[in-house]
C-alpha cells in the first residue's frame, strides 16, 4: 500500500510544478459547517505550510445549480460539500491513491462511502462525509402533558401516532397534529416504514408500490383533515421547505424532520417548551431515512495529493470528533457513533443525540439502498410535486401515482441517453 502511495506521490510531484498547493472548497452551511471547517483548516495549514486551503462559502443554490455547469466546463473547485451526488458523480476523483489508510476510511465511513459510488461494483472512495443525518420525529412533550395524553410506545404505528397527536392537538387547541418537511426524502422515510420498497427485486427502480400508496393515501388524507399542516406541502411549490418555525412556535405537536435540526432545537426553542426526539413509527419497519452531505473530490483538481492530506486530517478520529461537536452533527464515523463526541448540549439535546443514534440503528436496508441510488432525487422531487398537487385538489391521488411513475421514467430515460 505504501508503495502505491509513494508512486502516486511521485506521479503527483512530477505532473505538478513545485508550487504551494492550493485547495479550493465550495462549501455551504446548514448551520455553521463552513465556519467550523475553516477553523480546522487554519490548524491544518499551521502544520502544513505548503498547502493553502480556501473555503468559499456559497448559497446552497449555487452548489445545486452552478456546480455541475462549472465542472462541465472544467472550472470546478477541488472539493465541494454536496448532498445530491447524482448530477456531479461523473466528475468525482477516487481518493484512494491520495489518502494514507483507505482501510480506516472503509471501516469508519463505509456505510456512507457507498452512496458516492455509481454502482455496487465500484470500490472507489470519493469523499469524506461531513455528517450523518437520520430522519426522526420530534414531539412537543409539553403539549402531550397538557392534554394528559401519554406518548405512544416505541413500536407505535403511524396511525397510532396520528391519532395521538390529533387528540393532543384537539385537547390543547393546537392548530395541527403534525408537520412534515416538504421533501420526498422525509416522505420516503415514512413510506419505507409502511413497506415501500422503491426498487424491484432485480434492483430496477419502482417508486410507486403498495407500501408507497399506503403512506401517500394516508398523508393526503391527513393533510385534508388537518392532522398534518397543509401549508408546508401545499402552499409552496418548487422544492424544499421545512416546518421548523411552526414547531418552534408551538403550532404543531409532532414534527417529522431529522437530526440536522439539533442546533436550532437547542438555540431557538430553549426553554420555550419541552421537546423530545422519538423513535420512528413502526408498521412494516421502524425506519427513517439516512442522509448527509459529504466533501467530495473532483478529478480536475491540480493538487490531489494535498486534497488527500487535508481530508486525512479531517477524517482522523479526534479531529472528526471535534468537528462534530463544533457543528452539533451526528458523526458518520462508525466508532464515534457509539459515543465519544463531546457535545456541549442541554440534557434534552443529549437525550436527542441518543435517540438519533437509536433511530439510525433501526434503518431499513431499503432506506440505505434508496439513499445510495444516484437518481434518488428523480424519485423524491416528483413525489413532492405530485402529492402537493393531489393535496391542493389539482389532480386525484391515482393521477398522482401515474405522474410520479412517468416522471421517474422520463428522468431515468433522459439520464440513460448519454
Amino acid at each position: 500500500m505504501s508503495r502505491l502511495v509513494a508512486t502516486a506521490a511521485l506521479f503527483a510531484a512530477i505532473s505538478l510544478p513545485a508550487m504551494a498547493g492550493e485547495i479550493r472548497i465550495a462549501c455551504y452551511s446548514d448551520g455553521n459547517e463552513c465556519e467550523a471547517t475553516t477553523e480546522l483548516a487554519k490548524r491544518f495549514m499551521a502544520a502544513n505550510a505548503d498547502v493553502k486551503v480556501v473555503i468559499d462559502q456559497m448559497p446552497y443554490k449555487a452548489i445545486l445549480e452552478s456546480l455541475p455547469v462549472q465542472l462541465a466546463a472544467g472550472q470546478g473547485p477541488d472539493l465541494a460539500r454536496v448532498t445530491i451526488f447524482g448530477p456531479v458523480m461523473k466528475y468525482f476523483m477516487d481518493l484512494k491513491p491520495y489518502i494514507k489508510d483507505p482501510g480506516y476510511w472503509e471501516k469508519s465511513f463505509g456505510a456512507v462511502l457507498s452512496w458516492m459510488r455509481p454502482d455496487a461494483k465500484d470500490k472507489g472512495i470519493y469523499g469524506l462525509p461531513t455528517q450523518m443525518t437520520v430522519t426522526s420525529p420530534i414531539v412537543n412533550k409539553t403539549l402531550f402533558d397538557q392534554a394528559g395524553v401519554k406518548l405512544p410506545g416505541a413500536n407505535a404505528s403511524w396511525d397510532e401516532w396520528a391519532a395521538a397527536v390529533d387528540k393532543v392537538a384537539k385537547a390543547t387547541k393546537t392548530p395541527y397534529g403534525m408537520a412534515w418537511d416538504r421533501s420526498g426524502h422525509r416522505f420516503a422515510a415514512a413510506a419505507i416504514s409502511m413497506g415501500a420498497k422503491y426498487f424491484n427485486a432485480d434492483g430496477t427502480p419502482n417508486a410507486v408500490d403498495d407500501g408507497f400508496k399506503a403512506m401517500a393515501s394516508r398523508f393526503v388524507k391527513w393533510n385534508l383533515d388537518n392532522t398534518v399542516e397543509k401549508d408546508v406541502w401545499a402552499a409552496a411549490g418548487g422544492g424544499y421547505r421545512d416546518a421548523f418555525e411552526e414547531f418552534a412556535n408551538g403550532k404543531i405537536v409532532m414534527y417529522h424532520s431529522g437530526s440536522w435540526q439539533l442546533s436550532r432545537l437547542q438555540k431557538q426553542i430553549g426553554d420555550g417548551f419541552e421537546w423530545q426526539v422519538v423513535g420512528n413509527p413502526c408498521d412494516v419497519a421502524c425506519s427513517g431515512m439516512p442522509g448527509g452531505a459529504s466533501f467530495v473530490a473532483f478529478k480536475d483538481s491540480k493538487n490531489p495529493k494535498d486534497v488527500g492530506r487535508f481530508l486525512d486530517f479531517l477524517a482522523d478520529t479526534p479531529v472528526y470528533s471535534e468537528w462534530m461537536a463544533m457543528t452539533n452533527n451526528i458523526p458518520a464515523h462508525a466508532a464515534l457513533q457509539k459515543g465519544g463526541v463531546a457535545y456541549k448540549l442541554s440534557p434534552a439535546g443529549n437525550a436527542a443525540v441518543q435517540m438519533f443514534g437509536a433511530n439510525a440503528a433501526k434503518l431499513s436496508p431499503v432506506a440505505y439502498q434508496l439513499q445510495g441510488f444516484p437518481y434518488a432525487g428523480a424519485m423524491f422531487n416528483p413525489t413532492v410535486d405530485r402529492l402537493s398537487q393531489a393535496i391542493s385538489g389539482q389532480i386525484t391521488l391515482d393521477q398522482a401515482y401515474g405522474r410520479i411513475t412517468s416522471d421517474v421514467a422520463d428522468a431515468l430515460a433522459a439520464a440513460a441517453k448519454k
Partner: protein, 328 residues
C-alpha cells in the same frame, strides 16, 4: 470641486482625441455607408458573443437530448423535444399532456399576462391622472410610487412573503379587526391574486412615470378650449386625453406584456409556483427543467424557451412597427 471638474474635462477631451486619428483614416478609406459598422461594432461583438451565440447554442440544445452539458457531447434527437412538449390529448386540459407542467405554465402565463398588464396599466393610468392634477408634493408622491421599481425581484418577493405568511402581519391586522385571517398562499385563487398584486406593486411606478410624461405633453390649450365649451369631463377624457396618450399607452402595453411573459424571480421566491401548479409560469417551468430537477433536461428546457421566444418575437415585430411609426 473645480479641480475635479478640470480632471473630468481633461479626461473627456482625452477620450475624444484618442480615436481621432484612426477615425480620420477610416473616414478616408471606408465608403460612407460602412462607417456605421465602426460605431455598432463593439456593441455587436459583445452582443453577438453573450446574447446571440447563446441563443444559437440553445437551438442546438433543443434538438439534442441526454443530460450532458457540453454541446459537443449531446446526441442529436431532432424534433423529439418539441414533440414531447406538444404531446397532448386535449390542449385545454394540462393534465392530459405528456408534460403537464409545461401546459400549466402556458395557461397560467396567459392568464397572468392578461390580468397583470390590464390592472397594472389601469392603476398606472389612474395614478398618472391624479398626479397630473395640481398636486402639492408632486415630486414626493411620484418618487413614492416609483420606489419599489428599484428593488430587486428577490427582495420584493421576500418582503411580501414575510407579510403574507400565515403568522404574518396582514393576518394579525385582520384578526385585530375581528376578521378571519386567510391562508393567503395556500389557496390557489388567493395565491394567484397575490402574484398579480405583488408584480403590479413592484412595477407600476415605472409605467406611471411614462404615462405621466405622456399626459404632461398634451397641450393645455386643448383642455382650456374644452372647458370653454363646458364639455363633460368624461368626454374630455375620451376625446382628448386618451387619443393623445395613445403613443405612450402603446409603449406601456408592449413593454408590460414582454415583462409579464418573462415573470420568474418574484413568483419563484413568493410561491415557488404553488399551491400545486397554480402559479407555475412558463419561465419557471424552463428553469426547473433545466436547472433544479434531479436529472436536468436541457433539451426540453431549450425547446420550451424557443417556443416562448417565438411567441415573444411576434410581439417585438408588432412593437417595432408601432415604434418606428411613432418615431417618424
Amino acid at each position: 470641486m473645480s479641480g475635479v471638474d478640470r480632471l473630468a474635462g481633461g479626461l473627456y477631451a482625452a477620450v475624444m482625441n484618442l480615436p481621432e486619428r484612426p477615425m480620420r483614416w477610416a473616414q478616408g478609406h471606408l465608403r460612407d455607408g460602412r462607417l456605421g459598422w465602426l460605431f455598432v461594432g463593439p456593441n455587436l461583438l459583445v452582443f453577438g458573443l453573450f446574447s446571440f451565440l447563446p441563443i444559437v447554442i440553445d437551438v442546438w440544445y433543443a434538438v439534442t437530448g441526454g443530460t450532458e452539458l457540453l454541446p459537443g457531447n449531446r446526441p442529436f434527437v431532432g424534433g423529439e423535444n418539441f414533440a414531447t412538449l406538444l404531446r397532448c390529448s386535449d390542449y385545454l386540459d394540462a393534465n392530459s399532456c405528456a408534460r403537464d407542467q409545461f401546459w400549466y405554465g402556458v395557461w397560467n402565463t396567459l392568464k397572468f399576462v392578461g390580468l397583470q398588464v390590464g390592472f397594472m396599466i389601469g392603476f398606472s393610468l389612474l395614478t398618472a391622472l391624479v398626479l397630473n392634477r395640481k398636486i402639492v408634493g408632486l415630486g414626493f408622491f411620484r418618487a413614492a410610487f416609483f420606489y419599489p421599481v428599484l428593488l430587486s425581484p428577490v427582495v420584493v418577493a421576500l418582503i411580501w412573503k414575510w407579510i403574507l405568511q400565515r403568522e404574518g402581519v396582514l393576518n394579525a391586522a385582520l384578526q385585530g379587526m375581528n376578521f378571519q385571517g386567510e391562508n393567503w398562499l395556500l389557496d390557489a385563487h388567493w395565491s394567484f391574486f397575490w402574484t398579480v398584486f405583488v408584480s403590479i406593486w413592484a412595477h407600476m411606478g415605472f409605467y406611471t412615470l411614462i404615462l405621466l410624461s405622456g399626459l404632461q405633453a398634451i397641450p393645455r390649450d386643448l383642455y382650456e378650449a374644452a372647458n370653454m365649451d363646458a364639455t363633460p369631463p368624461l368626454r374630455v377624457f375620451w376625446r382628448i386625453t386618451l387619443p393623445l396618450l395613445m403613443p405612450s399607452l402603446f409603449v406601456v402595453v408592449v413593454l408590460g406584456i414582454i415583462r409579464a411573459v418573462q415573470i420568474f424571480d418574484e413568483v419563484y421566491v413568493l410561491t415557488g409556483g404553488g399551491p400545486g401548479s397554480a402559479t407555475t409560469f412558463l419561465v419557471q417551468y424552463i428553469y426547473t427543467t433545466g436547472f433544479a430537477q434531479a436529472v436536468r433536461e436541457y433539451g426540453l428546457a431549450a425547446a420550451a424557451s424557443l417556443l416562448l421566444a417565438g411567441v415573444l418575437l411576434f410581439f417585438t415585430l408588432f412593437q417595432l412597427r408601432g415604434m418606428t411609426k411613432n418615431a417618424r
